[in-house]
């Protein structure tokens, strides 16, 4: 041990630090026990409505669920093996990955651009309200609206027809290569308003001194943004990324409404695939296995993001 550290330790022992620490721990334990009855309702609620169903789902995913008999014979890993060999699962997984990436990148880029643009613009409140407006629409209502925008004789084809001078009848929500980008566009339209507002809050909380100092030193606006604003804004950006990733994994309403006429609707995302397996095919244990896969991926991503969050917090401090 470092001699300096050893001397410090001796000093601390002489003033009775261990006793102080022990007393502090006992006090904290007592406080926790005192707080427990007050926390109990919330714990019971979370445990009963969240943890128990998750545990039951884990059990269900390793059983054979008989349709009406309700028997749950142990099936081992069979549901998971069947999942990987299901012809629709690969497409659903790939589309979910596209969704997650798109739900992070596009709203973030657009939201950041809008936040920087409206930060010091006259009449900014009016513009901010307009951009945020789609966010207050229910996703199903939004989906129905965009469904008709994308319809073969809908607004988008009519507009393209006017611009091109010929009749346009693109089947946006029926073509394999077009449906996911089309729905992502609707999602970005709805969510960039919220991202913009969160980033504006982050920008408003930034210290002014480093920014002014950089300007006084002759830094170019882009240099100020890239070297000062962006790093200081990184905790907010990371929070936005975490929310966007979760949104990407759990998107359902838009896909359900806008993909209703698409033959391969079950491949649009893992969440939709799981719904079809559970409620259309009544394969509850197979759907439980799908839910475990989704949950596992989300958990892994959340852990990664938590580590990143801690690192960014340390960097900013």
């Amino acid at each position: 041990m470092d001699p300096l550290m050893h001397n410090n330790q001796q000093l601390l022992n002489r003033i009775g630090l261990q006793h102080i620490q022990a007393a502090e721990q006992a006090r904290q334990r007592q406080q926790f026990l005192l707080a427990l009855p007050f926390m109990a309702p919330a714990l019971l609620l979370v445990g009963g409505l969240l943890l128990l169903p998750v545990l039951y789902n884990i059990w269900l995913s390793v059983t054979h669920w008989q349709l009406f008999a309700g028997k749950d014979d142990f099936a081992g890993w069979q549901n998971y093996i069947q999942l990987w060999s299901n012809p629709y699962f690969d497409d659903a997984l790939a589309n979910t990955a596209i969704w997650v990436a798109a739900s992070v990148v596009f709203p973030l880029l657009l939201g950041l651009a809008l936040a920087m643009l409206f930060r010091q613009m006259p009449g900014q409140e009016w513009f901010k309200s307009l951009i945020f407006l789609p966010r207050i629409l229910a996703p199903t209502a939004l989906g129905v609206m965009w469904y008709y925008v994308y319809a073969p004789e809908g607004m988008l084809n009519q507009l393209l027809g006017m611009l091109s001078g010929t009749a346009v009848q693109i089947a946006w929500l029926f073509e394999d290569s077009l449906i996911t980008p089309a729905i992502i566009l609707a999602f970005v339209w709805q969510s960039c308003g919220l991202v913009m507002v969160l980033l504006l809050l982050g920008l408003a909380a930034l210290p002014r001194d480093p920014l002014e100092a950089a300007r006084l030193d002759g830094a170019h606006p882009w240099q100020v943004f890239y070297h000062i604003t962006l790093p200081l804004l990184s905790p907010t950006i990371l929070m936005v990324v975490i929310l966007s990733v979760l949104a990407g994994f759990t998107v359902f309403d838009l896909l359900w409404v806008m993909g209703s006429s698409y033959p391969q609707q079950r491949t649009l995302s893992l969440a939709v695939f799981m719904y079809f397996e559970a409620f259309q095919k009544n394969s509850w244990s197979f759907a439980a296995a799908t839910a475990m896969v989704i949950g596992g991926v989300v958990f892994a991503v959340s852990c990664l993001q938590t580590m990143l969050q801690a690192r960014v917090d340390r960097m900013v401090r």
């Binding site: 054979h64 349709l67 009406f68 008999a69 309700g70 012809p87 629709y88 469904y147 319809a151 073969p152 089947a171 029926f174 209703s260 006429s261 033959p263 391969q264 609707q265 079950r266 079809f276 409620f279 259309q280 095919k281 009544n282 394969s283």
Partner: protein, 411 residues
Amino acid sequence: MKVRHILLTALLGGTLLGPMVMAKEVQLFNDKGFWTGPLQSVAKAAATNGIALKIAPYANAEQYKTFIQASVAAGRTPELFTWWTGATLGDLVATGQLAPLAGLWKEMEADGRFQPGIKDLFSIKGQPYAVPLQLSRWVVLYDQRVFTKLGLKPPKSWSELQTVAARIKAAGHTPFLATTQDGWRGFIWFQELLLRTDPKAYTGLNNGSVAYDSPAVRNVFRIWSDMYAKGWFSDPRSNEEINDFIRGKGVMYLFGEWAVGLLGKAGFPLKELGVFILPNAPGVQQAAIIVEGAPIVVSRKGAADADTMKALRFWVSNQGADTWGKASGNYIGNDKVPAPNTIISQVNAQLAQGHHTLFLRWWESVPATLQGEMVAEFNRFMLKPDMTTAFNVMKRMQNLNTTYWANRKKT
């Protein structure tokens, strides 16, 4: 004297009011939220007979199925509820929770309300387990105004059908209306073409003995893609099938008779609506028609309850069937009441003449776990109706079919 007077009055009042005193409330669970109004009409009519029928609808079929499955698994099967015929009914019957209704059907056939043959649609292994909520034949509804204008008559043979379609196309109209609206309609033309070209394959497809890539099925896709190539079908991407028919986007509409009610409500002049049964392809002699039978089933507990059986008997009675028919435009097969509309009476007349064999609709016949994926493949074909897509679709359907029957053997 006064006491005697009071007692007599009470006795008289009780006798008169007795039938009006409500029996135990019988709930009819169903997933037909769009028919709540007509079902309430039947409940009101039942109330005048001392039957307290309460309509308990679920808006969504998936939610409803989950509710019934959970109830059956918990041993708390509802006493009276709607379900589906075919393989799905078989799964429910296998739980032992449903009451057989042979006695009731015997009564209904004996007094001529129901023709023999209808019972079979609601039977599993020869034993009936349900009565009809509605019985719908799948026919071709057509706009008589276009037929009259072009001097056409309903086709009675396959070649006449081709001629009629070609004449309609040549006159600038689209012969047939068919879409993938709501994601389930893809099987409609497939089932009809298969029945008209190979009735044995139609039956074999749903018991695993005929493959989805067999010659019979390949023939259907060849005919179907050929019809698309000739421009005989409307845009499958539309989400407004009923309105499309009214707007003239298709002259002929292959659908269940229950579409008549929807067309009427949407404003189509029903006196201009004609009907014919799609004729067989050359070489097929058997007169046949596809039937959709939505059943009402009763649990064993319900069958032991007098009020539940009273409600069920009312449903199939002449008064019940007539009320239901007038309110919803639906036919339950009771021949003792007037047909709810002229289309149904015309179909009845055509069937009586042709002695058609009733074939259960593909949707009910196919194993329930295959329904959604199979119909998605049919929809996929309709959106790109060429033989390349057809071969891919057939291959995928057969893979699903093979996996299902292989797993079924294991369990």
